[in-house]
């Protein structure tokens, strides 16, 4: 009895939220699916039904394949670097030293900045005429002449990855730092008495407490990196020569720059599917680590 009453009440309480979600996510999603089966343009006619044509064309196009490779590269390298930097920073900030609290607060700053501000900042640093990076590298003699870091296909993606890392490693560091503080003092003490050096201490004492939270950070960061749009849009718009074009940028170009709403929609759904698969795989990983850590 009370069970039905409870669940009725639960549904009642959730109705407003569900209504909003259906309105802002569900309905557009349904529309997008519908759109993806047509050859609709952004303006003008509603388009005619073309079946799976959009999907087939998109998956076969070299544009899509190149972009997928760029996206995966961006996600793997930036998230990998963020994880390493984050754990390293957390280990350092977990030591006892004067000014630790101030440094911890300072470290969060890049992450707290809006992405647009961060991106603009890095555009200044990379600026080919008066950028700090050029100045620094030429002054210490590593570089002969100023370069256009964001203007050359060979360096633009790497420059973007650096900017993205700088912004996002604090999140990983924060999560890792919280995990480090959960490592019992007694176990650390026992490992000292047992004669474990820094490496073994990390492996047998710290890692068991770090693994779970780190997997969560990994999941969050990879999914975000896979969908990356804003930092790239502000810094390079996918250029030069499409060398920094990721899937989200491609969706935007297809739908809005080339005004092909139908095929843009199909691409958006492909990206959604990929991210969903990624999320499912990760969810399984989280379950596995949670079960195994202790």
């Amino acid at each position: 009895m009370s069970g039905t009453w409870m669940s009725t009440r639960a549904w009642l309480l959730m109705t407003p939220l569900l209504a909003v979600m259906i309105a802002v996510i569900g309905w557009p999603m349904v529309q997008t699916v519908g759109l993806s089966f047509t050859d609709a343009k952004l303006v003008g006619t509603a388009g005619t039904f073309v079946g799976l044509d959009n999907y087939a064309r998109m998956l076969a196009s070299s544009n899509f394949q190149r972009t997928l490779v760029t996206t995966v590269w961006f996600a793997v390298v930036s998230v990998g670097a963020e994880m390493m930097l984050g754990v390293l920073a957390a280990l350092l900030l977990n030591q006892e030293f004067r000014g630790r609290t101030a440094l911890r607060a300072l470290m969060i700053l890049p992450w707290a900045l809006p992405t647009v501000v961060n991106a603009t900042l890095w555009r200044l640093i990379y600026n080919p005429e008066y950028g700090a990076l050029n100045a620094a590298l030429t002054q210490i003699g590593l570089l002969d002449a100023y370069r256009s870091w964001l203007g050359e296909p060979g360096s633009a993606l790497t420059a973007l990855i650096v900017a993205d890392c700088w912004k996002n490693f604090p999140l990983v560091a924060l999560i890792a730092l919280a995990a480090l503080q959960a490592v019992p003092r007694d176990i650390t003490a026992a490992s000292l008495v047992d004669g474990a050096g820094p490496f073994n201490r990390f492996r047998f004492v710290i890692l068991p407490y770090l693994a779970g939270p780190l997997v969560v950070a990994l999941v969050l960061r990879t999914i975000e990196a896979f969908k990356v749009f804003d930092i790239i849009w502000v810094m390079t718009r996918g250029g030069p020569a499409n060398s920094t074009r990721t899937l989200s940028i491609l969706v935007y170009q297809e739908a809005f720059s080339f005004q092909r709403a139908g095929s843009g929609a199909s691409l958006a759904l492909i990206v959604t599917l990929l991210v969903t698969l990624l999320a499912l795989a990760y969810a399984a990983l989280v379950r596995k680590t949670a079960g195994r850590a202790f």
């Binding site: 007694d186 176990i187 003490a189 026992a190 000292l192 008495v193 004669g195 047998f204 068991p208 202790f294």
Partner: protein
């Protein structure tokens, strides 16, 4: 041979002095218990011996060699922690063998040592489990095994039994005693449980506020407590402490109650001096012929099983007595307690020091 020497050890945290000069010399094979209430500095002292905390002054010698500059792993000690401190993702086997593994002992030799210790502690069946699959008592056995396997010169225990339930704690206490009798290794054991201290120790150091209040055998601590603090800390129910004034060869307890001043103290106690008379509850007897007597009014009677705990009043002071369980006593009754002269403890009321 001297196994462990603690010489004038001090510890300060900022302005606060946690250890105010500790001196203990232990012979090989002794079982020292550091006994004291929470925050008195027991763990701090143990951590200094282990090398997990730095002393602000003094010296620690193990086997005659100063170890203050040595890393914990090089001090030839092993430690057991209150929280067990097992490595969560290693099996019991690897947990016990971890110290040997870190010291690069070959696997076969390690396995032999681990199995030997596991047999001793009756945890052979658990060797493949993870710590999370063990009960508290089993975890503590593993933690003890991890210390035993290294065969160190000195074992350090920091309240190893305090996370266990009462029954298990008693079992493990006996087991520790058995282990000590068998291994004859020097042990330093921290606890705030006076029963553990009394039963395990060959010597007890009662600590208070970063100082040693008394260092002696359990018998000395129990029979001749050096201060009022020690007197109340050891023994349950605690020693009765009665405010008294010496007057003409008597100890006046107020309201017409008085006891004759034992001969031994006659020439050491001036009339009018304020004193505290200590009598253990178990030293009070109903047999009036046993010694000097005082009468009291019974207020509460509690049967604990092996004994009858009687709370009574002498004027405005309270007194507790542990009597044989079959004594016929009821609340409101007037009783006469006898005390042997030897069972009386006399302390100065101001300094709290024993009047020898």
């Amino acid at each position: 041979m001297s196994a462990l020497d603690i010489i004038g050890v001090r510890k300060t945290y900022g302005e606060i002095e946690t250890l105010k000069g500790i001196d203990i010399a232990l012979e090989s094979g002794e079982f020292l218990v550091l006994l004291g209430s929470s925050g008195c500095g027991k763990s701090t002292l143990l951590n200094i011996i282990a090398g997990l905390a730095e002393a602000s002054g003094g010296d620690v010698r193990i086997g005659g060699r100063s170890v203050l500059a040595a890393h914990p792993k090089d001090r030839d000690i092993a430690m057991v922690f209150q929280s067990y401190a097992l490595y969560p993702n290693l099996s019991v086997h690897r947990n016990i063998g971890f110290g040997l593994e870190m010291r690069k002992v070959p696997a076969a030799e390690r396995d032999r040592a681990v199995r030997e210790v596991a047999k001793l502690l009756q945890i052979e069946a658990l060797l493949d489990r993870k710590p999370s699959q063990l009960s508290g008592g089993q975890r503590q056995r593993v933690a003890i095994g991890r210390a035993l396997v290294r065969k160190p010169q000195v074992f350090l225990f920091d309240e190893p039994l305090s996370n266990l339930d009462a029954k298990l704690r008693m079992e493990m206490r006996t087991e520790l005693k058995r282990l000590h009798q068998m291994l004859k290794t020097t042990m330093v054991y921290v606890t705030h449980d006076q029963i553990e201290a009394m039963t395990l120790a060959t010597r007890i150091a009662v600590m208070r506020d970063g100082r040693i209040e008394q260092l002696g055998t359990p018998e000395e601590i129990y029979n001749r407590p050096a201060t009022l603090y020690v007197a109340t800390f050891v023994g349950a129910p605690p020693m009765n402490l009665l405010d008294t004034v010496a007057d003409g060869g008597r100890l006046v307890l107020g309201d017409n109650a008085a006891l004759p001043l034992p001969q031994a103290w006659k020439d050491r106690v001036r009339d009018g001096r304020r004193l505290v008379l200590g009598i253990r509850p178990e030293a009070l007897q109903l047999d009036a012929a046993a010694g000097p007597a005082i009468s009291a009014t019974v207020e509460v009677v509690e049967l604990t099983g092996p004994e009858l705990v009687v709370s009574a009043s002498i004027g405005r002071q309270r007194i507790m007595a542990c009597l044989p369980p079959r004594s016929r006593i009821a609340a409101g009754q007037r009783l006469t307690f006898a005390v042997e002269e030897d069972a009386m403890h006399l302390f100065d009321a101001e300094s709290g020091l024993r009047i020898a």
